[in-house]
C-alpha cells in the first residue's frame, strides 16, 4: 500500500505544478480547469470501477450540473450557490436513476446507464424552448463569493476553485475507499453473495457510491459550465461518457490521484494533438489508450507508483 505521505506529496507537487504551469502559460488555465473538473467526475467512475462496474452514461451527471448552472446563473449568479445546487441536482438524479440501475451488473449496468444518458441527451436536444437545443445556452460569469471579477481574475479564480474541490473530493474518495463502505464495493466485484450473508445489502452499497459519483459528476459539470460558459447537449452525449471512462483507464483506478493524472494527460494530448494533427488526433488518443491497456494496465498512477517502488497498482489504496 502506498504510504499516505507519499501520496500526499505527489498531490501537493501536482497542485503546485498546475499553478506554476498556469502562471507560465496563461492559456493553460482553461485547459487545466476543465481537466480538474473532468477529474472530479472521473473520481465517481473510479468508485464504480471498484465494484467492477463500468458506466457508459456518466456524462449525464456532468451535463446535469452544467445545465443547472446555465439555468440558474441569470437569477442566482454566484458560484458558491451554483456549485452546491448543481451537486444536489445531479445527486438527486443519481438517486432516482441509481435505484433502478443498481439492480444490474456488468454489461447490463453499463448499457442501462448509456441508454438513460441518451434519453436525457435527446431531451436536452429536443426541448428547444427550455434548452435552446443544439445551440446551447450561454452562461454569464457568476460572482465568486460576492465579487464580480474581471475576466482574467475570473479564470484564475475558477482554476483555484477547481483545484481546491479536486483536492477535497480526492481526500474524500480516498477515505471512502478505505472505509467499510468502500471495501464492500470491492466485495461486490469479488463475492457479492458473502456481502448478503453478512447482513449487508450489496445494492445499497452500490447505490451509495452511485449517488456520490453522480454528485461529483455534477460538481465537475458545474465547473465546466462556469468555465466554458457555453452549455450544449453534447456534454451528455455518449462520446462524452466514453471520454470519462477513457480518462479513468488512462489515469488508473488504483488511487484517487489517478483520475486527475488521467484528465490532465488527456486534455494535454487532446489540445496538442488537435493543434498539430487536426485530422488524426482521435487516432492518437486511441493509440495512447491501446498502449496503456497493453503495457500499463495500472494507468499513469500505476506507472508513477511503480517507479516509486512502493505502490501496488490495482490494490485498494
Amino acid at each position: 500500500m502506498m504510504r499516505r505521505g507519499a501520496e500526499a506529496s505527489i498531490a501537493l507537487l501536482g497542485a503546485a505544478g498546475v499553478l506554476a504551469a498556469a502562471w507560465a502559460a496563461p492559456w493553460l488555465k482553461f485547459v487545466l480547469t476543465i481537466a480538474l473538473a473532468k477529474g472530479i467526475a472521473v473520481l465517481g467512475i473510479l468508485l464504480l470501477l471498484r465494484a467492477g462496474q463500468v458506466t457508459f452514461g456518466h456524462a449525464v451527471y456532468l451535463a446535469a450540473g452544467a445545465y443547472t448552472v446555465a439555468f440558474l446563473a441569470p437569477s442566482a449568479g454566484e458560484a458558491f450557490l451554483l456549485l452546491p445546487v448543481a451537486a444536489l441536482v445531479s445527486g438527486l438524479l443519481g438517486l432516482v436513476v441509481g435505484l433502478f440501475v443498481v439492480r444490474y451488473r456488468d454489461i447490463f449496468f453499463g448499457m442501462l446507464n448509456l441508454a438513460i444518458s441518451m434519453v436525457f441527451y435527446s431531451l436536452l436536444e429536443k426541448l428547444y424552448s427550455l434548452t435552446r437545443g443544439t445551440d446551447g445556452i450561454r452562461v454569464e460569469p457568476p460572482r465568486i463569493a460576492g465579487f464580480s471579477l474581471a475576466l482574467e481574475d475570473y479564470v484564475w479564480a475558477m482554476l483555484i476553485l477547481a483545484l481546491v474541490l479536486a483536492v477535497g473530493f480526492g481526500v474524500l474518495v480516498r477515505a471512502y475507499l478505505a472505509s467499510p463502505m468502500g471495501q464492500a464495493l470491492a466485495g461486490i466485484k469479488t463475492r457479492e453473495t458473502r456481502l448478503e450473508f453478512m447482513g449487508v445489502s450489496a445494492r445499497r452499497v452500490l447505490l451509495a457510491a452511485y449517488v456520490l459519483s453522480a454528485l461529483m459528476g455534477g460538481v465537475g459539470g458545474a465547473i465546466v459550465g462556469m468555465t466554458t460558459r457555453h452549455v450544449t447537449p453534447l456534454l451528455a452525449y455518449w462520446t462524452s461518457s466514453g471520454e470519462l471512462v477513457f480518462i479513468a483507464i488512462l489515469g488508473g483506478a488504483g488511487a484517487a490521484l489517478g483520475p486527475f493524472l488521467g484528465a490532465v494527460g488527456y486534455e494535454l494530448v487532446r489540445v496538442y494533438a488537435a493543434a498539430s494533427f487536426a485530422e488524426a488526433w482521435q487516432a492518437i488518443l486511441g493509440a495512447v489508450l491501446l498502449l496503456v491497456i497493453l503495457f500499463a494496465p495500472g494507468g499513469l498512477w500505476g506507472m508513477i507508483s511503480g517507479l516509486l517502488g512502493r505502490g501496488r497498482p490495482g490494490r485498494p489504496a
Binding site: 472505509s179 467499510p180 464492500a184 469479488t190 463475492r191 458473502r194 453478512m198 452499497v205
Partner: protein, 251 residues
Amino acid sequence: MSGALLEARGLRLAFGGVRAADGIDLDVLRGEFLAIIGPNGAGKTTFLNMTTGYLRPQAGTIAYEGESILGLAPRAIVRRGIGRSFQLPQLFTEHTVLENAALAVAAREGIWSPLTPLLRRRWREEAMEILARFGLAALAATRADALNEGARKLADIAMAVALNPRLLLMDEPTSGVAAAEKMAIVETLVRVLRESGVTAVFVEHDMEVVERFADRVAVWSQGRIVALGPPGQVLADPAVQREVIGIERHA
C-alpha cells in the same frame, strides 16, 4: 420458551424431477451441536440454503425463535442471528484475510460510515482476535485467493463467527482441511462456539468428528431425514451404516 431454536416443518423443494427436500421436519435445539450426514446429493446443502433464505421452499414453514423467517432475504435472516459458512468458501478474494474478517466485524456494527477506516483499531483488533482463535493470525496479511483449501474454509467460518450468530450453519467445515490438523481445528472451533453459547448445525462427512462432537445426528437421504438421535445410537443402526456410512466411506 421452547427448547427449539429453529423449527422446520414439511419443507419441500424439487429441482425439475430431483426432490432435494421431500418433507423435512426438524427441530434444532437451543445450545446443541447437530450434525447432518448423508450421501452426496441427499439435500443437505439445500436445507441450509432454505434456512438462510438463499432458496425458497415450495412448501413448508421455517421458524426461528418462534417467528417465521420464510421469504426473508438472506441478509435479513443473518441480522436475526443465523450465520452461515459455505461448502465452497465465499471470501473476498482480492482482500487480505484480515480485511475479510474486519469487514465481517464492521458489517455486524453497520458499515454505513464512509469516513471510518476499515482497519481502524477497534475493528482490526477484534478481527485479529477472531483470526487468532482460528489459528489464522499468521495469515492475516495474505490475500484470500492465495490461501490453501483448509485455511480458506477456516477463514470462511471465522467470518461467520465474527457476526456473533446465535445459530451457526456450517456446510462441511472440515472438508479440505488436512487430516493431521483436522481434530485440533474442530476442537478449537467447538470450544469457540461453546464458549459463546452458539447453537451449531454442521454438515459433516467424517464420522469420527460426528461421533466426538455432535450431540445429535440427522441422517439425510434423498431429501428426507431417515434417522435422528444421539450419534452412538444413530451410527450403530445397521440401516444407516449400510445406506449412508458405507456410501460415505467411499464418497
